[in-house]
């Protein structure tokens, strides 16, 4: 893992770009946590405990530099978390295979023509999940080797990838999923094996994502402690307070393992 650049942001967040082999990523941490690495005195090194990590996996169509993703990451860091995102193979700004380009072209054409898109989504998203999951796991290994980053780990965002990671990666202790994206058949089946606490966020009027499918998915998850938050509005209309709610969800499930700014029941 090589850090290629760093930026100190005005809210006390340190944003560092990194590469791990072919994988480009960003790590956002509280500046106080970063000081653990460079501290000269034992006192300040001890005072900066490792920040619990949240993997923030974007929907495959967005690069990790997307403004909404960056805002979510900074919000979580202000709550005391380390947040990491990567552009996995075929995602974000990474090069696409001929098959991926073809599937995306087919998808645009079918959407314009008002034709069914499930089969095309299946052929596009299924392989993306299969290729992205191992890259995220390699990244997780590297991130947890940093002294300023701790575990267990939260997962936030892209549902299909998150299901795969939650059932294959025991270090993930809680997952916040956004229901606005196609979930392949394989992950709809795997959902029954998900047992970590989860929060599913649904936009009730999401134009491209059938509501019933999201409700069926929520029902299918094997987790006992699962919560659904639904709000009126379209795909991009998630209200600001859901960011706060997601933060409190992670606080409840990751807080015993360190981190700053964490809240408990009164």
């Amino acid at each position: 893992m090589h850090f290629t650049s760093e930026q100190r942001l005005d809210d006390g967040v340190l944003a560092r770009e990194f590469t791990l082999g072919e994988i480009p990523g960003t790590l956002w941490t509280p500046e106080s946590a970063e000081s653990a690495e460079s501290a000269e005195s034992a006192v300040s090194a001890v005072s900066a405990a490792p920040a619990p990590l949240i993997l923030m996996a974007h929907n495959n169509g967005l690069p990790k530099s997307d403004a909404r993703l960056v805002a979510r990451a900074r919000h979580s860091v202000r709550r005391g978390y380390a947040v990491a995102s990567i552009d996995a193979a075929g995602c974000g700004d990474r090069p696409r295979s001929a098959a991926e380009e073809q599937a995306r072209a087919d998808l645009r054409r079918a959407l314009r023509a008002g034709e069914p898109v499930d089969e095309i989504f299946e052929s596009l998203v299924g392989p993306l999940v299969d290729k992205a999951a191992p890259e995220w796991r390699v990244t997780l290994d590297a991130l947890l080797s940093l002294p300023e980053v701790g575990g267990p780990v939260g997962y936030s965002g892209w549902t299909a990838l998150g299901i795969r990671l939650a059932v294959t990666e025991p270090r993930i202790a809680a997952a916040g999923f956004f229901a606005g994206g196609y979930v392949p058949h394989a992950q709809r089946e795997e959902a029954r094996k998900v047992t970590v606490p989860l929060l599913l966020l649904l936009q009730w009027d999401d134009e491209g994502n059938p509501r019933q499918r999201a409700l069926d998915l929520f029902d299918a998850f094997g987790t006992e402690a699962k919560t659904l938050h639904a709000n009126t509005g379209g795909h991009t209309g998630t209200p600001w307070f859901e960011g706060e709610d997601a933060g409190r969800f992670f606080d409840r499930h990751l807080s015993q393992h360190g981190g700053q700014g964490l809240q408990g029941p009164r």
Copy 2:
């Protein structure tokens, strides 16, 4: 409105029993708000602003003294609210008419026999709402005449009554509904006219309340800013953190009108 007893609780909550004609009620307030009434110096009277009011209407089968209801009330008072509940006609410990007794007996028999209960619920709950709503409005008038209680007003609890109040009572500015109860046809229709911000709380596996009916009701509400929170578990299994979430919901919608301990977006 006559206060018949008062109790100072160890969390800074003042609980006062009152009667208003035949209606028995309880008002919970922060002790600091109550001091506005009895304060001898102008300074302390000014410093205690009226607390925004939440009407906490229990499901018709429970008395207002139920331990879970009292705990909810005290939680809201600790957030800076005044909370009131009454036993409306036919509810809680109030005497029941022969027709109400008959309907409740029919209901028990039908539930034991596994027979359909919608028609019986309709004949029981419809008239209860019709009789309870004017009693709640009279109570609201009396409560808002107290110097320590302010408006606009939040509503929390019994869905069917809350729908009726939300469409007939312009002083209600936000409503938190619990989906675990029968909603008569009349209120399912009235739901389209509800336009205040609302939070609907659903127990996903509620034994006696069909999930789809709750989802249809959520869809029907005329409100633009509506949020659904669903959690796994049966009727009484609502997780503790939903109390906090409901508090923040009221903070968002009632906070500009005064009150203590209120939170805004960061």
